[in-house]
């Protein structure tokens, strides 16, 4: 039995869309997953009248407080110990749940992931990635997208391993190609960080390194895992998100650009921490919640955390 904790109060459309997402997930669920709904009991029960869940498929953990989207992460986590995020990480840290999902305050989720549960031994800095839709219909993984604004070459090398394991086990890509985001194709190009990271990636036998990829390659299928520091990654991700918004506002109907709706991917895992944690987009709706639960399940079924532990115990 997999026990997944879900922050029902996080995100712009909580708790209604969270409940709808759980309902949608449980419809196709073989009862091997138990959902722990963390949030205000009264509010949740009210909504559960409209969207009833099968008895035994869920339980509620009452959390009377909510960390709002604009709150300062560390301060909020400290002061609102009865919030859904604080309680979620407490349950995760004490082994009451196996994974935790939230579309709430991203900063608070990151701080919680970094400090409530530990980084896997050998992982210098955990990372978060984002899916990138490519023209040929495939999905790539870009990481880091904002957790680590300043990086050392060794961090990028570790992100490559973490991303490759995620791509292999969760995206089911055999021998995922790892590319280094850079400003030129040839070895030796780039800023000091990229120049120093290149040889580490090249010599890393745990990954299938395919060299540098440029900005123009990010939306194409040149690499499955695209590695950069979190500053560039964050700017790139938000720019790509804004392309979707522009396409929507201009009423362009196009199948490919529909896939730039990042909300539909249902959040990204924090990679390199000792338990599955998934951070959703603030605008997550039912499908996104359902997808997040699915990703968390897949992470547990494939024992991604164990695979990462194994990988890092060998090498670092």
């Amino acid at each position: 039995m997999i026990r997944i904790g879900i922050d029902m109060m996080g995100g712009d459309y909580a708790p209604l869309e969270a409940i709808k997402g759980v309902a949608s997930f449980t419809e196709g669920n073989s009862a091997a997953v138990h959902c722990i709904l963390i949030g205000d009991e009264n509010i949740l029960n009210k909504h559960l009248n409209d969207y009833p869940l099968p008895a035994g498929s869920f339980s509620i953990v009452h959390a009377p407080e909510v960390i709002e989207m604009h709150e300062h992460p560390t301060k909020a986590l400290k002061e609102k110990q009865q919030s859904s995020i604080a309680i979620g990480f407490h349950l995760l840290a004490t082994g009451k749940i196996d994974g935790f999902i939230s579309a709430g305050n991203t900063g608070a989720m990151m701080v919680g992931a970094l400090f409530s549960i530990k980084a896997i031994e050998g992982v210098i800095r955990p990372t978060i990635g984002a899916y990138i839709p490519r023209e040929d219909g495939s999905l790539g993984l870009l990481l880091d997208v904002g957790l680590n604004a300043d990086c050392k070459p060794e961090n990028l090398n570790q992100f490559a391993i973490l991303g490759a394991l995620f791509a292999k086990h969760i995206l089911k890509i055999d021998s995922p190609r790892v590319g280094l985001v850079n400003i030129g194709e040839e070895e030796g190009k780039g800023n000091i960080l990229a120049q120093a990271a290149y040889p580490l990636l090249k010599e890393n036998t745990q990954i299938n390194f395919v060299g540098n990829i440029e900005g123009r390659d990010i939306l194409l299928n040149k690499a499955d895992v695209m590695v950069c520091e979190g500053f560039t990654g964050n700017v790139v991700l938000k720019l790509a998100e804004s392309v979707y918004d522009i396409v929507q506002r201009r009423k362009i109907k196009d199948e490919h650009f529909e896939r730039f709706n990042f909300e539909s991917y249902g959040g990204v895992p924090v990679l390199g921490v000792s338990k599955p944690v998934i951070i959703g987009h603030g605008i997550s709706q039912a499908t996104a919640f359902k997808n997040m639960i699915n990703i968390a399940c897949r992470m547990m079924e494939t024992d991604l955390t164990g695979k990462i532990q194994e990988s890092f115990s060998d090498k670092f």
Copy 2:
């Protein structure tokens, strides 16, 4: 009389499109501009039979060699002293032409700009920017887009001044808003560089600093001048260019995304060097060449270089 040197051998469609561009420019030109066509005399004369230019509006400077697109910049400039780019910079450095334009080897153009002519006194590092089309029809300037992959906070502060002067005098924007590309809106966000650059920009009385802008704001009209180091800027620019390619391949007809055809803007100036130098896209066609000549003219008419000199003599 403004004397503009044009590398007729640079770019994928040289020299034909270059000649067509010059012809198109001279049609609307009041004879106050003299075009110095630098390239292989025989080839140029052959094309000039098909696209005749008004006598007296141009002269040819013979350059028997060509620096190809893939050649190593420094090596090529040194070994091919009879190339159109080397001769162009020689003419510029010796005062035989007032400005120089090329759609050829970008690296060679940068090296030439940095070493053949000098940086303006006080400018630590010259920069290159790119136009960014925004949804409301306006154009923004993003800089640096690749000349300076590693920057210090002081560099970004200077890019802000250079970009603001360009936006004011060439794009004709009064009091252009300067934004710092960053991964959060609030002061204090970002990597070490952005955190350190913010207070410099805030205290800089020569610019109208409007704070941080995120990736999602780059394609909107939140700032006229968007400042970042050349690594992020280059990745962003090439990503934006690739969006245009995808839109074309998917046969999406949309007025706004048509403006992502960066070729049509006709190149970007190297800002901070002592004379006007414009670097065009390798795929430049006639319109791009015409636009580049126009930008060079406007830079000279408004004495942008003098304005920059003045600005930097005050402050640095």
